[in-house]
């Protein structure tokens, strides 16, 4: 891509980011954030980082946008009071100085980066064949740095538990969100009936193709979560009560399988999460297949929020 395109993309990004910060109404700010996520996707594509662009499109634009808009609507009642707050002049000057200093420091660091960035990409490329997968990003995530992926999955789970802890006592174990009262013959119900089957196929395709091409379990899980949330939002199916056994099983099956493979590695190949020769691809596929439903359910429940309605025991 030419210099002109890069520059115009950068200017567009900066302009939109500035507008998102400056605008007063949070609804509008989130409305600007979603196109910002999509512009960032284009930026990643301009840098030929397709896996990152895929993840940015899925998480940055789709899921984070929905998360922010849910937060904004919960804050709606206090927004007028928050907007009326005025900070003192001294606070503002200090904040301006701090922000400018930080920006100058970051700019200085970027300008002083070495010309040849230190990179492990050639090393990864040399050992790629041993992992059995063709996509170097999948190889890094699930083979060379599998530990990081495991911890990331567990962190998401812990985040979900933290969100659940915000539930009022009487609603613990209950269903998240309000009961949706949508017209079962309306356009939203129609969309929620037609789109999810297609979305599920696309999600599994993206998951499967991630072994050798851009894709993988994380992007696939995001699509699955989005489809489930769509069904919940349209009222076709109520959010599940969080004390259901099948729900909790799905949440832990991914990290549990990952840890089990890790200990298998201790027994068979000498170190935690090391794969015995020849079995690498099989184990990677196994881990990804177990993580896919876990991640999907975790992400969907993260967005659904803490339980608000009592479940079985009312």
């Amino acid at each position: 891509m030419s210099i002109a395109t890069h520059i115009s993309l950068a200017l567009l990004l900066l302009g939109l980011a500035f507008w998102t910060i400056v605008v007063r109404d949070t609804f509008s700010a989130v409305a600007g954030f979603i196109p910002y996520g999509l512009l960032l996707t284009s930026a990643w594509l301009a840098l030929a980082a397709i896996d990152v662009a895929l993840t940015e499109a899925a998480i940055g634009a789709g899921l984070t946008g929905a998360l922010l808009i849910a937060a904004a609507s919960r804050l709606h009642k206090t927004e007028i009071a928050a907007r009326a707050e005025q900070r003192g002049t001294i606070t503002r000057i200090l904040a301006a100085i701090l922000a400018t200093t930080m920006t100058a420091a970051i700019m200085a660091c970027i300008l002083r980066l070495p010309d040849r960035a230190p990179t492990l990409a050639p090393t990864v490329a040399r050992h790629l064949a041993q992992t059995g997968v063709g996509n170097p990003i999948t190889a890094v995530l699930l083979s060379f740095r599998a530990m990081d992926t495991l911890l990331e999955a567990i962190v998401l789970l812990v985040g979900l538990i933290a969100i659940w802890s915000l539930a009022p006592d009487r609603a613990w174990g209950g269903r998240p969100g309000q009961a949706q009262t949508e017209d079962p013959k309306g356009p939203l119900a129609y969309l929620a009936r037609v789109l999810p089957p297609i979305g599920i196929v696309i999600a599994i395709y993206i998951f499967w193709v991630g072994a050798d091409h851009p894709g993988g379990k994380f992007q696939g899980a995001t699509i699955l979560a989005a489809m489930w949330l769509l069904v919940m939002m349209s009222g076709l199916s109520d959010a599940p009560a969080i004390d259901r056994g099948w729900l909790r099983f799905l949440l832990i099956v991914g990290p549990a399988a990952f840890i089990a493979v890790g200990f298998l590695g201790v027994v068979v190949a000498g170190a935690f999460l090391s794969y015995p020769t020849g079995f690498a691809k099989l184990l990677i596929v196994l881990i990804e297949a177990a993580l896919l439903p876990s991640l999907a359910v975790t992400l969907a429940l993260l967005l659904a929020g803490p339980p608000r309605r009592p479940g079985r025991r009312a």
Partner: protein, 95 residues
């Protein structure tokens, strides 16, 4: 690539770009939220459809062509449902 296929691509993409232009002009000039929504949904989706049509001859395989059409159908499905919802919202709370 044959000359005919190239011609199809150029014509269709130009037509698609024209419809995007028309949609954006409508977005800028129409007075009312509902009319702006109309411009956005109709013109942009037609523009996307023409772009997909123009890019079909350039795909290397049947699967890639199928994916292109699937993208267009998905966008059509989503925007028709979502525009109905936006319109309902706009009518319930005029500015």
């Amino acid at each position: 690539m044959t000359a005919a296929a190239n011609l199809l691509t150029i014509t269709a993409v130009l037509a698609g770009a024209f419809f995007f232009l028309a949609g954006t002009v409508g977005l800028l000039r129409f007075p009312d939220t509902l009319t702006r929504l109309h411009a956005l949904t109709k013109a942009d989706n037609l523009g996307l459809g023409l772009v997909v049509l123009g890019l079909l001859p350039r795909t290397g395989s049947v699967v890639a062509g199928f994916k292109l059409i699937l993208v267009w159908l998905l966008v059509l499905l989503a925007s028709s449902a979502v525009s109905q919802l936006i319109a309902r919202n706009a009518r319930r709370s005029p500015p």
